[in-house]
Symmetry: C2
Amino acid sequence: SGLEDTVKKTIVDNPVVVYSKTWCSYSSEVKSLFKRLGAETLVIELDQLGSQGAQLQKTLESLTGQHTVPNVFIGGKHIGGCTDTVKLYQKGELESLLSQAGAT
Amino acid sequence: SGLEDTVKKTIVDNPVVVYSKTWCSYSSEVKSLFKRLGAETLVIELDQLGSQGAQLQKTLESLTGQHTVPNVFIGGKHIGGCTDTVKLYQKGELESLLSQAGAT
Ligand SMILES: N[C@@H](CCC(=O)N[C@@H](CS)C(=O)NCC(=O)O)C(=O)O
Ligand SMILES: N[C@@H](CCC(=O)N[C@@H](CS)C(=O)NCC(=O)O)C(=O)O
Ligand code: FES
């Protein structure tokens, strides 16, 4: 579909993409982690897009199997949510993923 | 108002009260902390109450100044949100608050 192509293009064109909701603390946590690491990040706030936001969330679910926010991509690859991203950071694996994707 | 009296009675009648939203991870975190500590907890899911939920959230805001979830009370006292509760736990102060309130 059109939205699937949009998402596929967005995650390839940007080193880090976070699909988020402005009022969600888990989304804020992952956004501030990337900020602290100096990673070039595209943030898409699903609750700021009207009905497109809900459609985009459904598209993300069909592409990744994940209906929750935050939904994180690095270098075109689906990473998962907040806990997944933080776990990679704690294992020391996030920084090399970011540099390989050209985000840092 | 009627709702203010309801909240005041609820927080006095129950040792621990958590106003929560079912799909919010910060709410889940604080609920599972109290479960792990074996604290007798009343959980009120604001998103399961229809229009009452939004009214209740407004009432909590006027009583506590806090419009966010989770909204935590122990022994009738307003504690705050998830980060406030976790900080008390990390400082070793949460357990004595719970036992003083008769939750454990
Ligand atoms: N472990 C996941 C949890 C994700 C999660 O449950 N997100 C919530 C908001 S914090 C959500 O999208 N809830 C909507 C739903 O469950 O439908 C993560 O770390 O991202
Ligand atoms: N630091 C607070 C954060 C609370 C917070 O921002 N909660 C969010 C959901 S995770 C909320 O209620 N957002 C609604 C809003 O901001 O209007 C806590 O630990 O509880
Ligand atoms: S909505 Fe509460 S942590 Fe996401």
